[in-house]
């Protein structure tokens, strides 16, 4: 079982989520994050610049191992603009995942 954490542009959220759904991955958890990397922005206060962060959305999906390739492919396709600031896809191993409602382990 894997946890895939996709850090994408906020306006790519739906496209990415819909694409995951078409792979049968319908459950996901999202959160608002901010980031920086090759792309940087600055904002101003009282005439002085300070570094602002880009607003990104992190999408966490728990999937079975055999879906990993497909999920990565789909995210790289759909969340990409080719311009700096597109984000990252992190792949982590997961020991287990319980569905609280059913008390069952494993992807459900």
């Amino acid at each position: 079982m894997k946890l895939i954490k996709c850090i994408v542009r906020t306006d790519k959220l739906t496209e990415t989520a819909d694409a995951l759904e078409s792979l049968g991955v319908s459950g996901l958890t999202i959160m608002d994050v901010r980031g920086r990397g090759s792309t940087r922005t600055t904002a101003l206060y009282r005439g002085r610049p300070y570094p602002a962060f880009l607003h990104m959305t992190a999408i966490d999906v728990v999937i079975d191992d055999d879906l990993v390739d497909d999920v990565i492919r789909v995210v790289l396709d759909r969340a990409r603009t080719g311009v700096n600031g597109d984000g990252r896809v992190l792949i982590m191993d997961l020991e287990n995942c319980y569905t609280i409602r059913t008390r069952q382990g494993g992807v459900a």
Partner: protein
């Protein structure tokens, strides 16, 4: 007609109307974010339904001649209500001014049943309540009814507005029942600045409410204005000191509440007491409401936003102290207990009890009757996910997300970009 009076009543009426949006923020800030819009809508919707019904029916029941208990139907649909003078201002303007009172009184009730009452039942309730409960009591006190004949003093609505709404709120809290997580979780305000904004805007509007109740730009209005400025200031000072003594923190929610309590308490007394009387009244009024609020939070009564502690207790204290502190030297007509007229306090007590009784019984009957046709409460699942979504289909705050329309076909479908197999393979 007197043009200066018209000018003052125009702006007063506008200010009182603005109190209802202000109340939406006062209340809206105190609930959880999942119920923010529902709570605000409970105030806003009163501007519509109660506003229209007031013009069509309520005004006549409250202010048409009628008998000692209720006005007749001679002004229904605003018949005989035009631009002719009512006192020194156009009759229609007087009708509007009184309408803004009906609107906010109905909206006040919502504080007791937020986060769980079904919106449709609420709308039906406040609409009927205004006609069946508010209008008659307004008639008793201001429309020439039996309480006014008896000499009860209620300058701007301590009894008609605050006690009345608070008793209805108490009944509603009981009939609708408590929130499912009440007392299991500390349900804390999601946006205290909104509550402060509401308190500030309510104070602004209350100058129209109290000083406008003189229905003229004269010395009486100036007196009511002065007391409306000084009493809440005193309440705020006393409340802050109580907070600081009790827990070494002066809370912002406490400050907002104190301002409202002070305003409520001075409402019946505004044009009757002198400025020092207002300071005394405001300072005293802080104590019972402060204690009522602490005590209520420990009971099983889910009067969620403490309408009873603020408006019921504050209104009662104000109504009674009016009978104590009324000062003929300032109001020109009547003295209270401390100036040698103990009889006034007795009249005040009767007025308060009468309003409590009528409002309590009728509100109960109304809610039970409505409950026969419409469920009063939201489903458990809706209460858990929040009424904004279930009752209004909306979220108060959405951050950083572009979300697809369900109706729109999936965008892609066209040429899917070439996928670099090699790269992916690398990881496994």
């Amino acid at each position: 007609m007197n043009q200066a009076d018209i000018a003052w009543m125009l702006i007063s009426t506008a200010l009182v109307l603005f109190m209802t949006p202000a109340l939406a923020f006062f209340y809206g800030g105190l609930v959880r974010s999942k119920n923010a819009l529902n709570t605000m809508m409970m105030s806003f919707v009163s501007l519509g339904f109660v506003g229209v019904l007031w013009a069509l029916v309520g005004y006549s029941l409250a202010f048409a001649p009628g008998n000692g208990l209720i006005g007749d139907l001679s002004r229904v649909f605003l018949r005989n209500v035009g631009l002719e003078a009512q006192g020194t201002i156009p009759h229609l303007l007087f009708m509007c001014f009184q309408g803004t009172f009906a609107i906010i009184t109905a909206a006040l009730i919502s504080g007791a049943i937020v986060e769980r009452m079904r919106f449709s039942a609420y709308v039906v309730f406040i609409s009927l309540w205004m006609i069946v409960v508010y209008s008659p009591i307004a008639h008793w006190v201001w429309g020439g009814g039996w309480l006014s004949q008896m000499g009860a003093l209620d300058f701007a609505g301590g009894t008609v507005v605050h006690i009345n709404a608070a008793v209805a709120a108490l009944v509603a809290a009981i009939c609708v029942g408590k929130r499912r997580d009440f007392q299991h979780a500390a349900i804390v305000p999601h946006n205290v600045p909104f509550t402060l904004l509401g308190a500030g805007a309510l104070w602004l509007g209350w100058f129209g409410f109290n000083a406008g109740s003189a229905v003229a730009a004269n010395a009486s209005a100036a007196l009511a204005f002065t007391t409306t400025m000084l009493a809440p200031a005193a309440t705020l000072v006393v409340w802050t000191l109580l907070d600081a003594m009790r827990q070494r923190k002066a809370t912002a929610v406490g400050a907002a509440t104190a301002i409202v309590v002070g305003l409520v308490a001075i409402t019946p007394a505004a044009g009757f007491v002198g400025p020092i009387g207002a300071l005394v009244l405001g300072g005293i009024a802080a104590v019972p409401s402060y204690l009522a609020l602490l005590w209520r939070a420990r009971t099983s009564l889910d009067d969620s936003l403490d309408v009873v502690a603020a408006h019921g207790v504050g209104g009662t204290v104000g109504a009674l102290l009016t009978g104590v502190l009324a000062n003929k030297a300032f109001n020109g007509t009547v003295n209270g207990l401390v100036f040698g007229n103990p009889g006034q306090l007795k009249i005040q007590i009767i007025a308060v009890l009468a309003a409590m009784l009528y409002s309590g019984v009728m509100s109960f009957v109304l809610l039970k009757a409505i409950g026969l046709f419409l469920p009063l409460r939201a489903d458990q699942a809706d209460e858990e996910s929040g009424l904004d979504l279930s009752e209004h289909g909306e979220e108060a705050y959405v951050h950083d997300s572009g979300m697809n329309l369900l109706a729109t076909p999936a965008p892609g479908a066209g040429a899917t970009p070439s996928y670099a197999k090699a790269q992916l393979g690398a990881q496994q």
